[in-house]
Point group: C2
Chain length 96, copies 2
Amino acid sequence: MELAETFGLLADPTRLSIVIACMEVERSAGDIAEHVGVSPSLTSHHLRLLRSARILRSERRGKQMFYTMADACVHSVLNIMIDHLFFHDHDTVDDP
Amino acid sequence: MELAETFGLLADPTRLSIVIACMEVERSAGDIAEHVGVSPSLTSHHLRLLRSARILRSERRGKQMFYTMADACVHSVLNIMIDHLFFHDHDTVDDP
DNA sequence: TAAACACTTAAACGGTTGTTCAATTGTTGT
DNA sequence: ACAACAATTGAACAACCGTTTAAGTGTTTA
């Protein structure tokens, strides 16, 4: 199921942070690593997955590799979700 | 990160099928199990996760337990994604 | 062409997670 | 109260996945 795989790529905290970091601004791999606070190696691993799933698009410019959002659908889905977390209920309850 | 956890719950094929099965219609746990094609036990395991994340809401009626979508946000996100898969590119390519 | 920089790749480890099977709880009917 | 039905729970196991470390590309500058 392709839909589940897409959600799976957004299910990891660091990978999700990487995607969100590329939502509005174009960023180099190094910038992303620094911004998210993880090693360049780990960043690259995640970038490869996001690239081959066509969630992010890459473009080389000099020594650097720049990444942007490639999927408008994922972009709007993230906006909806982030919106929801900010403006709606901020409660923490657990059910029996 | 709460957002990643929500995506994580939608990242498993059978669990995603369960959520989609409850999108428009209210269904009993047994119905869900049959509709998705998995054991009642496995269904219940997944339902517990979806319930405690407030993605699904449960209501007992007689011996049965009925489930419905509880999160309008997830509901619309799923609609966007499913829409996207149906009407946009249906190509299968892999990058080097 | 050699050094320096930016990024990628490969292998390996540890923890998480989906699934199954068996036993248990809760509810209705006789 | 007991049997039958519906759903849940717990333990155990295999498979997957994120992370680290070290070595490897590719590109620019001296």
